[in-house]
Amino acid sequence: MDVLVQLLINGIMLGSMYAIISVGLTLIFGIVRVVNFAHGEFLMVGMYAVYLLGAYWGLNPYVSAVPVIILLFALGSLVQRFIIQPLLGADEHIQIFATVGLSTALVNLALLVFGADLYSLTVPSARQAVSVGDYTMLTGQIFMLACAVILVAGLHFFMQTTALGRAIRATAQNRNAALLMGVRVDRIYVITFGLGAACVGLASALLMPLYPVTPTIGTYFVLTAFVVVVLGGMRSIYGAFVGAMIIGIVDSLSGYYIAPDLKEVVYFAIFILILIFKPTGLFGFGRGTE
């Protein structure tokens, strides 16, 4: 029983990390309607930025979060403006190739610049164990959970109450109608893509104290993020949050009860089953076959 509760806690902590990454991916998919295969590489770029800021200027990752979020917002906006936007009218497979190409280029650029070595930052403030009863967690993980909740709540507030949020929602529902109502759709897309990337910027600052960065770290996380997004119904921020928690818990439990090297097999199997049998996601928020 004790083990189970500890595993559930670990799962939720892991889930909050997936949540932050997946919310960004959901935002881009739900609004721009582009599946961003380079999303994981944004995370990798963010983590190297956090690492460099920490290693050369001694910045605490949590402080680096601010410049890195801005950097990633800029990166995302540029990608949308100069790569995705010219391809919005193109065939779907061209869009897939474009983001896959961007992903390949970024991974290998990192390999060229940093090599295949692991880089990590020692951040004592993030690695203190906190005990509640018999169960322990790390301060960094608690930060992560708090940030995930604040991010989802904040995005909800932003989407529901601000004029920009309303314009974004209108664009998501009907691009042409929004255009006729005077919404500058292209600009909305640039902002949305930037926001999606900025979420990953936040994630990279929170991840850096806990995980070492490598050129391929993005591939590892983004595949999981895609599982989460599909599970959550693809268009829903709340769906992504709940999906992330489920995958976090599945990851934690199957790693212990089945085999550590098969936990990905378990949630990829879930992913394939959901895509095939319930493409609207677990809660019916979206449509995978549409």
């Binding site: 391809l87 193109a90 190409g101 280029a105 991974v107 060229l112 097999v265 992913f271 076959t289």
Partner: protein, 611 residues
């Protein structure tokens, strides 16, 4: 696809012996170019050049095989290395445990790959675009992780060394040139298969399904069936190449055999060369692989990642500047140059059109019976207890205000919608009524339909669009081309037969809908607003055409808003309003019917006129 250099509509001599084909410049130029792959390494004679050329053959073959699924069928698999890895591992393990020659083992690997391909393809084909790609990536990851996990069988992450027995029997040589022979042979095999598919009914069907699933169904194409056939061929070829490559490398590990990066590269070569073309994948490989190999050779480990960076950047640039790929963009021009060489030029098409399917049966007998059709979309009842009996040889007009449910009725009697309740029975070839289950089955029973919102196969020419319809009754390409020409003449599309459908104005597209449907030689023709968007003279032409068609024995149901045309054309009219049949009878009676006038013009009008 006339934009593609080696498209079927291009000058491929028909029904000629293989020797006669050699005089076609397209054939001898291709063979000359291919032979360079064997000649150049002979001349330069360096192990490095040899390695580059073997790699070109291997990746050219992999990419050509991928293109059958990714290009022709438009299913963007990013997990194709599953088949490559299965081929490699199966062959290596059969040598290790049973001493079986790789020449036999590679076929066992191909058989296993085919099974896995069906297992992945069947459930995943319903997924759209990026989700199909994601699912294939997920399958690849699962297989890779399982290969690592079951290390007792596969050697796990540490890898597996192929037993080093030299000789042709074991596909392992000291004389490296032998590898090139085998790799070249595999490349030729995949190219030939790819070319044969491109120029067959299957090739047309794959393109049709890629462009418009619904229109393909209406032309009698079993969508899942043709995609599965593409996967079977592609998986088997990919697996054979994987088996050979494992023998060449003599070392297998899950990270390289089931690599996502390699899967992406294979797809990338096709995109650079030209998706859906025969030579595109090889061309992309020839251009990109040497750059990467040279960078690796000259710069060594310091350039780790350089080739990937170049690949990724090239890929993004190509998507932005040349999305049709090299062959798609420059192919037609190069094709014209080649045709000017001795022996070239378009041959006159003298093939006689095959006889049409005869329609027999007694005029007036019921040939389609729809009973109590109810169709509910959530809370909306689109058709409410509609019953229609169609009699052989008549022209039945269906009219009604917008949103009355006319097209929904059509969708139900052509199998595109399953009624919530009610049945549709169609007369079978044996004269008995049957209940077909799917749209393509309806179509094969002789129900041809057009779409109100036109559904052309945009990247096929007008003639090729019609050929997709013809193929249902005449599977041979020559027959199909000749029969399509006959239909084009009949419908008045002959002058624009070589124009790509996406460039047609709406009037032309409406006629193309009719032509493609007629091409399936239906016994019942369902026309959904084919007069809309036609000029006055074209409308008259269409009316005459429909009469001509009826006179050949075809029964017609037409939905139409052009009252003058439908009234003069129809033997009988059914009026539908709010999902219900409100009137039925001959045209003169129906126009005087009070309920019909109400439905169109409102009660007030009826009262004011005192009807």
């Amino acid at each position: 696809m006339t934009t593609k250099a080696f498209a079927p509509s291009a000058a491929v001599p028909r029904k000629s012996s293989p020797l006669a084909r050699l005089t076609d410049p397209r054939v001898y130029c291709s063979l000359a170019a291919l032979s360079l792959i064997l000649i150049v390494p002979r001349i330069i004679d360096s192990p490095f050049v040899m390695h580059v050329f073997v790699t070109i053959c291997v990746f050219g073959a992999l990419s050509t095989a991928w293109n059958i699924v990714g290009g022709y069928a438009g299913q963007l698999s990013l997990g194709h290395t599953v088949f490559y890895g299965i081929g490699g591992y199966t062959t290596a393990l059969l040598i290790q445990h049973f001493g079986l020659s790789p020449w036999i083992g590679m076929w066992a690997g191909a058989a296993l790959s085919v099974l896995v391909g069906i297992g992945i393809g069947y459930p995943c084909f319903r997924l759209r675009g990026p989700f199909f790609s994601l699912a294939t990536i997920a399958f690849l990851e699962v297989v890779r992780l399982l290969a690592i996990h079951f290390h007792g069988l596969t050697g796990g992450a540490a890898g597996l060394i192929v037993p080093l027995n030299l000789g042709w029997e074991w596909m392992i040589f000291r004389e490296k040139f032998n590898y090139l022979y085998i790799a070249f042979g595999l490349l030729l095999l995949t190219l030939l298969v790819s070319w044969a598919i491109r120029n067959s009914r299957l090739g047309f069907y794959l393109t049709a399904v890629r462009e418009r699933e619904d229109a393909a169904l209406a032309a009698g194409v079993n969508n899942t069936g043709v995609k599965l056939r593409a996967v079977i061929v592609s998986a088997a070829l990919t697996s054979l190449v994987g088996s050979f490559h494992a023998m060449y490398m003599t070392f297998l590990e899950p990270a390289t055999m089931f690599s996502l990066a390699t899967a992406i590269e294979i797809a990338m070569f096709s995109l650079i060369g030209g998706l859906g073309t025969v030579v595109g994948p090889l061309l992309g490989t020839v251009l990109v692989v040497p750059i990467a190999e040279l960078a690796r050779g000259w710069l060594g480990a310091s350039a780790n990642g350089l080739h990937g960076f170049v690949y990724g950047t090239v890929l993004v640039i190509i998507t932005l500047t040349l999305p049709a790929g090299l062959v798609g963009t420059f192919g037609p021009r190069v094709g014209q140059w080649i045709d000017r060489l001795p022996g070239g030029g378009r041959r006159q098409d003298a093939h006689a059109a095959p006889a049409s399917r005869p329609i027999s049966g007694e005029p007036g007998q019921p040939i389609l019976e729809a009973k109590g059709l109810v169709m509910k979309f959530g809370g909306l009842t689109a058709t409410d207890n509609v019953s229609i009996t169609l009699r052989r040889g008549e022209i039945l007009g269906i009219i009604g205000p917008n949103g009355a449910g006319k097209t929904t009725v059509f969708n139900q009697i052509s199998g595109f919608l399953k009624p919530t309740s009610g049945t549709v029975a169609v007369i079978g070839p044996d004269g008995a009524m049957t209940n077909p289950a799917s749209a393509d089955e309806f179509s094969r029973l002789g129900i041809g339909r057009t779409f109100q919102i036109v559904q052309p196969f945009g990247k096929l020419t007008v003639l090729e669009n019609i050929m997709v319809g013809v193929f249902m009754r005449h599977p041979k390409v020559d027959d199909a081309r000749a029969a399509a020409l006959r239909v084009a003449r009949l419908v008045g599309l002959e002058d624009i037969k070589d124009v790509e459908a996406r460039n047609l104005p709406i009037g032309g597209l409406k006629r193309l809908e009719v032509a493609r449907t007629l091409a399936t030689e239906p016994s019942i023709l369902l026309l959904d607003e084919v007069m809309a968007g036609q000029s006055q003279s074209d409308t008259q032409r269409m009316v005459n055409l429909i009469r001509t068609i009826r006179d050949t024995g075809v029964t017609v149901i037409a939905i139409e808003h052009n009252m003058q045309a439908i009234m003069s054309l129809s033997d009988r009219i059914i009026v539908i309003d709010s999902g219900k049949v409100i009137a039925e009878g001959n045209p003169q009676d129906v126009v005087k019917n009070r309920r019909v006038i109400e439905a169109y013009l409102g009660e007030d009008f009826v009262d004011a006129q005192g009807i």
